[in-house]
């Protein structure tokens, strides 16, 4: 049974750091992807687009 606990801990420690790095890279790539730029710029402006009420 001792092995089982050690295994879980091992997974936590290694997976934890792997997950940290992988997700960070993924998010940075998504945010920095050139073709996404237009969408983001547009989104940042979207709150100012003045419409008098709900569209439906």
């Amino acid at each position: 049974m001792i092995v089982e606990h050690a295994l879980l801990v091992g997974i936590s420690k290694s997976f934890g750091l792997f997950y940290l790095i992988a997700l960070s890279v993924a998010v940075v790539i998504y945010a920095m992807w050139p073709s996404n730029k237009k969408r983001f710029d547009d989104a940042a402006q979207s709150i100012f687009r003045d419409e008098a009420g709900p569209w439906r």
């Binding site: 801990v9 936590s12 420690k13 934890g16 750091l17 997950y19 940290l20 997700l23 960070s24 998010v27 940075v28 998504y30 945010a31 920095m32 969408r39 983001f40 710029d41 547009d42 989104a43 940042a44 402006q45 979207s46 709150i47 100012f48 003045d50 419409e51 008098a52 009420g53 709900p54 569209w55 439906r56």
Partner: protein, 551 residues
């Protein structure tokens, strides 16, 4: 309010209130030998009063379809008023307990007012009462504008607002009667917790439906943060509150977890309550109201996305920094420390975004106290997260843990970040919601700003000093190798700092009262200008209005 509901909605509302009243009656019945019975009476009363309130206007003419051409803002309005009431109550109790540490006999010898019972009244009133209502109000407001979609119906948002406040009321009255689970920020007992689950699920559905029907192709980033707040708080709440009640008629329950597992679960909850209640939701607020008020888009939308995912996944690991050097296995402590340090990146991305958005608009910041509230909030957010990451380092935590340094950190975040961004956003929204040109008195906004800032600075500096002095005294040895100070020596050393903190808190409280008065007068005094009928805030108009007034 009721006149806005259609006939069928009025009927639904009555049925729901009746169900609540029945639950209350059942609680009275099964809990008659226990404090739970009193809560039953409260629930029953809440249900009955709501029925009467609806009944009064039941036969009022049905609303015209014209209402569908506007956003549904009544629930936000009510939640803002409730937020300010909770703010005044919570800050007053906070200052009361602060004075109790100066003069302990301020309990007046009755059970309900002792420090241990009032402290959670303070934390719950400010975090859940003030913060929670402000989050609900602004989230519904922002949701509708950014999706250009109306709320799905007119009953469920009311259920969320009133149901949530019933939760807060049960929680706070419970502590004073001694009903508590003792888990910090999760003190309410099992039936109150269950009620919150129901309310929260409805809140989630109310939030999801307009998002799904939105017109904009992209979901604006504020909604991401609000969504994370709603979802993660649900997960945290359900897991951490798993418990077995003594019986259906007892308020008391026993946690499903014990010892180390409980400690880790509790601080996984506790830290993420900070992350998703006190941070994510308020970041959502900031990402909408700051650009609107400043009249310019957020400096870097990309940075806001990076910081969103960073916060969502780093925070979850960081809870164990509350348990350094305890019986928790060291590898968990180390993981917590690592992730806490990483957290600085997404945190500073947000704080930086605030300042960079304002870069080039400093004249507006100078003239507009509302915008200044938001700017100072950004600065304190940066400061608190830097401090937090620092305190998460094991050797630093060995000094800071258990001392007032933690309290200083908490209130740098709570007063400097949470309260400031909330006051800023509320001052921005109130004129938009009630179709006023500006706040009743921009001068009072200015006064509130300075009171709040002075109060925060005094509070935080007092606690930093006190905490570091305390931590150092605890670990000082004299030459013979024995501890130099008794515990009581350190307590005496704290006294002046406790007075300073209570004075700082008083300033902050006065500021809160000024704010509440100003908001109340804005609502009550009709606007001179009548053509501000548009539903969408007009930053330029409002901004210049505030400018003119400040001059």
């Amino acid at each position: 309010m009721i006149a806005q509901l259609t006939l069928i909605e009025r009927q639904y509302a009555i049925m729901i209130s009746a169900a609540v009243a029945v639950c209350g009656a059942l609680m009275i019945l099964v809990g008659r030998d226990d404090a739970m019975g009193i809560h039953g009476a409260l629930v029953f009363l809440a249900g009955i009063l709501t029925i009467f309130r609806i009944g009064e206007s039941y036969f009022a003419p049905a609303p015209s379809d014209e209402r569908l051409a506007h956003y549904y803002d009544d629930p936000s309005k009510v939640a803002i008023v409730l937020a300010m009431i909770w703010a005044v109550v919570g800050l007053a109790v906070g200052d009361w307990v602060a004075w109790q540490l100066v003069e302990p006999d301020l309990t007046f010898g009755v059970a309900w007012s002792s420090f241990g019972r009032l402290r959670p009244v303070h934390t719950t009133s400010v975090i859940f009462g003030f913060g929670g209502n402000a989050l609900i109000a602004t989230s519904l407001y922002v949701l509708q504008r950014t999706s250009r979609a109306r709320l799905p119906d007119q009953v469920s948002p009311w259920f969320v607002v009133y149901g949530y406040n019933l939760f807060c009321l049960l929680a706070v009255t419970g502590y004073m009667m001694g009903i508590t689970q003792s888990k910090e920020y999760a003190e309410p007992e099992w039936y109150t917790d269950l009620w919150l689950v129901v309310v929260w699920v409805v809140y989630f559905l109310v939030y999801l439906r307009p998002l799904a029907r939105r017109k904009e192709p992209h979901i604006y980033v504020s909604n991401w943060y609000y969504m994370a707040f709603i979802l993660v708080v649900a997960i945290l709440h359900i897991v951490n509150n798993l418990a077995v009640p003594v019986s259906l008629g007892h308020a008391k329950s026993y946690s499903a977890f014990s010892g180390v597992q409980d400690a880790m679960t509790q601080w996984w909850y506790g830290h993420n309550a900070v992350a998703f209640f006190l941070t994510a939701g308020f970041l959502g607020m900031m990402y909408y109201f700051l650009p609107m008020r400043a009249g310019r888009p957020i400096f870097s939308y990309r940075m806001s996305i990076i910081s969103f995912w960073g916060i969502t996944f780093f925070y979850m690991w960081a809870g164990s920094h509350h348990l350094h050097y305890t019986a928790l296995p060291q590898w968990v402590q180390t993981l917590g420390m690592t992730f806490s340090l990483m957290l600085l990146i997404p945190s500073w991305a947000s704080a930086g975004n605030v300042l960079l958005t304002l870069n080039g608009a400093w004249d507006k910041v100078r003239d507009d106290a509302t915008l200044r509230f938001m700017m100072v909030a950004g600065v304190f957010y940066g400061l608190t997260t830097l401090e937090g990451s620092f305190m998460a380092i094991r050797s630093v935590n060995s000094l800071s843990h258990y001392t007032d340094w933690t309290i200083g950190h908490v209130h740098a975040g709570a007063l400097g970040w949470v309260a400031m961004i909330t006051f800023g956003s509320i001052y921005a929204t109130v004129p938009w919601l009630w179709k006023r040109e500006q706040m009743y008195s921009p001068k009072l906004v200015e006064a509130h700003f300075w009171l709040a800032l002075a109060g925060t600075v005094i509070y935080v500096f007092a606690m930093w000093n006190s905490g570091i002095v305390q931590g150092l005294m605890w670990r000082t040895y004299n030459e013979s190798g024995t501890l130099a100070f008794s515990f009581i020596d350190t307590l005496v050393a704290m006294h002046p700092y406790y007075i300073a903190r209570a004075v700082g808190g008083l300033l902050f409280l006065i500021g809160g009262c000024v704010g509440a008065y100003n908001i109340w007068m804005t609502i009550k005094v009709p606007s001179a200008v009548t053509d501000l009928a548009a539903d969408v805030p007009q930053p330029a108009v409002v901004g210049s209005g505030a400018l003119r007034a400040a001059e």
